[in-house]
Symmetry: C2
Subunit: 213 residues, 2 copies
């Protein structure tokens, strides 16, 4: 498919996926575009536009088949595959992520966790032994690592990122609160928790009005 | 100011703020719109448009005064004030957030952490004693709580959110992986870590092309 899909649309897909999963859990098999729209707080025309990017799943007068749509979005998102992840940095954020079982339900499996601190190396977190970050290269050779979770302090992030790229890991989930230079063939997804909190502060205070997206 | 500012612009402000802070740390006092654009990977015209929403800070041929712009954005974001936060849920996510000193540097102070688990209540995390969630009402009466961090499982999120609203807390930072109904005068900022990981999976796999925002 040649069509360019905007990142704004892609970022909404996980949300559709979550909502449809909740509907399935509630035994709902069919939903009108209007009901889906009300539930998701997105206009019906927005939903139609978004889903049209990937083919047409709605039928006039019938609405959406929840399971079909769920499975289609799952496949679009690449969630019918599984991914191997390593966590770099076994601090609080790294530990919190490792303990979050939700990710595994979605097919994201943590197969390694690494740190530099000799006091942490060798200890076990949720059954996984913390390894020395020096052994990451060897580990990536022996295991198929899809995604590296960067949960290290900002100061170390760049060097570790360079290693990750050099070892051939193609996905980076970045919690290090710094922007990373783009590298060909490497996908970086940034999580800036502080940004989210600042956005909250803005809305909390502001005399400026804002428009919900 | 009557002007409506889109949420997309607001969400970029923390990023400007971070970049400008880094520049100040490096002793850079002045930057051209082009250099700022290169550094941030946003077009110069986008930057001008964004900043024009809040008044005009750039000068033709001079560029931006880094400190002025930093201070302006700080003030726009409401970061010249401080905020009192309580964490609801002392699990891994709650603990990770409490341990993240960055927030305090930005004026977000954690003044309480609450849980339901009798094994955790009474223990100390970073000097803060975990309180029984039943005492939250009393606590909000005795302390000025601006923001509640919802770090509880999805199943409990709605009930706790209802309490938070009832007790008069006006800001909610939601890590519970569920959408919360809008309430008048309450600002909710959602963090969906799973969504971010699914977006990464999408980019990782996709045969669909996408456009960076």
């Amino acid at each position: 498919m040649d069509k360019k899909v905007s990142l704004a649309v892609i970022k909404r897909l996980p949300r559709y996926y979550r909502f449809l999963g909740d509907l399935l859990d509630d035994g709902i098999t069919r939903i009108s575009s209007k009901d889906l729209s009300d539930k998701m707080n997105v206009t019906a025309s927005q939903i139609r536009q978004d889903l049209n990017n990937f083919g047409c799943f709605g039928q006039q007068g019938y609405g959406y088949n929840v399971e079909l749509l769920f499975e289609e979005i799952k496949s679009i998102l690449g969630l019918n595959k599984t991914y191997n992840l390593v966590i770099l940095g076994a601090g609080k954020i790294g530990q919190a992520l490792l303990n979050y079982v939700k990710f595994e339900k979605r097919g994201f499996n943590f197969i390694g966790i690494f740190d530099v601190d000799p006091n942490i190396i060798g200890t076990k977190i949720r059954g996984l032994e913390v390894k020395n970050i020096k052994d990451l290269e060897k580990f990536t050779k022996e295991n198929n690592v899809d995604i590296a979770v960067l949960a290290v302090p900002k100061a170390n992030a760049y060097d570790i990122y360079k290693n990750v790229v050099e070892y051939g890991i193609k996905g980076v989930w970045n919690f290090s609160n710094t922007e990373l230079e783009k590298e060909d063939g490497v996908i970086v997804e940034n999580v800036h928790l502080t940004d989210s909190l600042m956005t909250l502060a803005y809305k909390f205070n502001t005399s400026y009005d804002f428009i919900e997206e």
